[in-house]
């Protein structure tokens, strides 16, 4: 009479799936931009308003784009990691370019924030109304993208950077991209 235990067995399998499901966040959706060219943009620089940047500034170098805002609490936490990252990159002489995308922010507040916490970015794109962020599929701050030297999006992270992600995912990826 194994038949009568079939419902129990089915139920146990379902529970295992639920338990697995609980460890995942259904809101994490892979970006449709992966392995596609980065969306076009023309944005002013945060410090030098008259200077405009576009996709051209991305080509030639592997680039890390970090989306941040002065109103974002989590950005403070990942900021020190970014500063460390830039230092390591410079020390190693690797050609990684770190660009900031200042998202839906106030210029004065953003500059003040950087003065207080330090500036890891070589360039900061200023996107006060979030229109560029929209094209890039940004739906929360912070987010981080890695673009290769041909302007193709290779990686996207929603949420804050951690040391594990930087050393385990981002740096190996950057190295691979630079060698190719």
């Amino acid at each position: 009479m194994i038949r009568v235990y079939v419902p129990l067995a089915a139920f146990i399998i379902i529970v295992i799936f639920f338990a697995a499901g609980l460890t995942r966040d259904p809101k994490i959706i892979p970006s449709p931009l992966i392995d596609k060219p980065a969306p076009a943009f023309v944005l002013p620089e945060l410090f030098q308003q008259e200077k405009l940047f576009s996709n051209n500034s991305l080509s030639g170098k592997v680039t890390l784009i970090n989306v941040w805002a002065s109103w974002c609490g989590t950005c403070v936490k990942e900021h020190s990691l970014l500063l460390d990252l830039v230092q390591d990159v410079e020390a190693a002489g690797s050609g990684l370019q770190v660009i900031g995308l200042n998202y839906k922010d106030d210029r004065a507040a953003a500059i003040k924030w950087l003065e207080r916490l330090g500036n890891p970015y070589t360039t900061i794109l200023f996107d006060p109304d979030g229109s560029c962020g929209l094209d890039w599929g940004v739906y929360g701050v912070p987010e981080t993208f890695v673009i290769d030297q041909y302007g193709i999006v290779r990686y996207k992270l929603t949420g804050p950077l951690t040391q594990a992600i930087i050393s385990g995912e981002i740096l190996p990826l950057v190295q691979r991209l630079q060698e190719s």
Binding site: P7, F11, V15, G21, L22, P26
Partner: protein
């Protein structure tokens, strides 16, 4: 101070629940009468304690006590008083308390209306209910306590989600929970019967009225939820196949199968273990619904703030409840033998077919709802399953179920003759199908689904009339014949007619509705279908806790003014959210639904105008099914009379 009293009362209720679980069960196993006798008073005290807790929380909302964290998060002093009361169950913690309250309400009802049951059986049932209650009170007190204080107290509350500031919130959750939680009674009866190793048909008879009432409330709750989503969300849809909706639809399907299979177990003594399994499934699916809504494993339009800790706690609880009962089922069901002695053309087999179809439908919904979760767990990517899947799969199933609903009740138990049945049915069915096809051809281009849907609905109604005439024709007068039929017979006719109405509504509104998104300039009229719409402009108004832009529309039909509608776009400052409030001119044969979009250039606004024919039938069917459930539960056969009780006692003496 008052809220602490409530807190304390609920803690006390938890202690009593634990006693109610353990002592009567041990008493029943060891045959100690005084231990079994603990069950009833425990259930009653437990109810009083949880009510006390609930009332103190209501009080905190009513007097704007923002030193209670839950109140501060979900209310505001500018909120109208009746929304403040309903806000008690407006978020996770309070709705869990409502769940506990309703569960203890069902428990006390069982303890009061179980005089005809043996003490042994009552003790087992109340013990199982106590176990469920214990689990929920633990969830409440340890993971989502609504009685916690906020120090320092907030100056004012963060306000109730504007979506919930509506009559729908006052009615929908309590009624839905009545249904969800009501299945715990059938579940407890089933588990009690399993534990006592008495899987005869008597437990089925006892649990039938409870199951019918619970099913009725669940039906009404779902219908209300659909109606609420329709007028509040502003999209004009009435069912979205959202995980949370599916979470209520699955127990409904299991419950529908259950009330039908209970008939067979009660009257024919067959399907015994199958019925037990359905009772377990119906309640487990109710719990699953809670898990899906509260844990955030699936994304949904109306999920509460998701919290993994709660998710884990609820999952552990479901595993305990369903796991233990299914294990018990495995141990006991193997010993039960019940054979269906009937020919294929019989009511017995029709009910079996009903169960199979409903079960397939439930599996379809289950798979569609959880498929994204399964895929994600297996690292196969993220997907979402949408309405196309559900519609493609379920529409044929439900039409099949409709055909069965038309034929099944006309069949006799055990055995029927095909020839007789065909002669009985041929004429009315032909008439209806011809009528439907004709009217559809005349009215518009032909749609096959429209013909199918309307024919099936017509068949059901027609077969109900046939059945009634069949039953009455042997009586001396029509009136006498009508009066001698039992209530449950009329309830069945009513429920099946309700089902037919819902099919009619769904068919017509899907096939014939008109949806238009357009830009409208003041005083320029637009003709859509048979109606003419004139936009009169937008003005600003101020209400107690929101500001709104209010549009004015005149609706004309053949040059005659029908109604003036005022859709609104509301801004709630406390939560800084904007809500679209549609304006609806409701009618039995059609709804006109206008909702305000965004301003375009100048005075022009984007506007949504929907014409929804017969949409009210969808919910009206639900209301009929609810009434049918209540009426069926009132049938005399469930009220065991004195002599019956004496006979039962005698039986037990003989058994001993």
């Amino acid at each position: 101070m008052i809220i602490e009293i409530g807190h304390f009362a609920v803690v006390l209720a938890l202690v009593i629940c634990i006693l109610q679980t353990i002592i009567p069960m041990i008493g029943a196993i060891q045959g100690r009468e005084n231990w079994m006798a603990v069950a009833r008073p425990a259930a009653q005290v437990q109810f009083v304690m949880i009510s006390l807790g609930f009332i103190t929380l209501m009080h905190a909302f009513l007097v704007n006590d923002f030193s209670v964290a839950y109140v501060a998060h979900n209310s505001n002093s500018a909120l109208l008083w009746y929304y403040r009361l309903a806000a008690v169950w407006g978020a996770h913690e309070g709705s869990l308390l409502l769940w506990c309250l309703i569960l203890s309400g069902w428990t006390i009802c069982v303890s009061c209306f179980s005089k005809s049951l043996t003490l042994d059986f009552t003790a087992r049932v109340l013990s199982v209910m106590g176990f469920i209650s214990t689990g929920f009170l633990c969830l409440l007190l340890f993971t989502s306590n609504p009685f916690e204080r906020l120090i320092p107290a907030a100056m004012d509350g963060r306000d109730l989600n504007p979506l919930l500031q509506d009559i729908g919130l006052i009615m929908h959750p309590p009624i839905l929970y009545m249904g969800y939680v009501g299945f715990s009674v059938a579940f407890s009866f089933a588990v009690a019967a399993l534990s006592a190793n008495k899987l005869d048909s008597s437990w089925a008879r006892w649990s039938r009225p409870w199951t019918l009432i619970a099913w009725g409330f669940l039906t009404l709750g779902i219908a209300l939820g659909s109606w609420w989503a329709y007028y509040e969300l502003g999209w004009g849809g009435w069912w979205f196949w959202d995980p949370v909706e599916n979470a209520s639809f699955m127990p409904w399907l299991a419950g529908t199968a259950l009330i039908h299979s209970l008939i067979v177990t009660d009257k024919r003594g067959a399907f015994k273990s199958w019925t037990v399994l359905l009772a377990i499934a119906a309640f487990s699916l109710s719990l699953l619904g809670t898990f899906l809504v509260r844990s955030g494993v699936l994304t949904s339009v109306h999920s509460f703030a998701a919290d993994p800790v709660r998710g884990v706690a609820i999952l552990i609880f479901i595993s305990l409840v369903a796991g233990i009962s299914l294990l018990l089922y495995g141990m006991r069901a193997g010993q039960v033998r019940s054979y269906l002695q009937a020919s294929f053309l019989s009511r017995d087999y029709a009910l079996l077919a009903n169960n199979i179809i409903i079960l397939v439908a439930a599996s379809v919904v289950f798979l569609g709802t959880l498929y994204p979760l399964f895929l994600d767990a297996l690292n196969l990517g993220k997907v979402s399953v949408g309405p196309p899947y559900f519609n493609t799969m379920l529409v044929p199933l439900f039409l099949l179920l409709g055909v069965l609903t038309a034929i099944g009740p006309l069949l006799r138990w055990r055995h029927d003759h095909l020839q007789e049945l065909v002669t009985r049915l041929r004429l009315p069915y032909q008439l209806i199908t011809c009528g439907v096809i004709l009217s559809v051809i005349i009215m518009l281009d032909i749609s096959l689904w429209l013909v199918f849907g309307l024919s099936v609905a017509g068949w059901i109604v027609c077969s109900s009339i046939c059945l009634l005439m069949d039953r009455v024709k042997h009586s001396s007068t029509l009136l006498a014949g009508l009066f001698t039929q039992p209530l449950s017979f009329y309830a069945m006719l009513l429920a099946h007619t309700g089902f037919a109405l819902s099919i009619t509504g769904v068919t017509l509104v899907t096939a014939l509705d008109l949806e238009n998104d357009l830009g409208m300039t003041p005083n320029v009229s637009k003709q859509i279908g048979d109606y003419e719409y004139i936009f009169r402009g937008v003005e600003e108004i101020q209400a107690q806790n929101y500001r709104a832009l209010r549009g004015t529309f005149d609706v004309m039909h053949n040059g005659r003014h029908i109604t003036r509608l005022h859709p609104e776009k509301r801004h709630y400052p406390v939560q800084n959210s904007v809500m679209t409030e549609a304006a609806i001119d409701a009618g039995l044969s059609r709804d006109i639904y206008i909702s305000l979009g965004d301003p375009l250039e100048g005075d022009t606004w984007s506007v949504r105008i929907y014409y929804k024919p017969f949409i009210r039938f969808v919910w009206l069917g639900g209301v009929l099914m609810f009434l049918a459930g209540i009426i069926a539960a009132c049938d005399r056969r469930y009220k065991l009379r004195q002599d019956n009780r004496a006979r039962l006692k005698q039986l037990h003496v003989q058994e001993a």
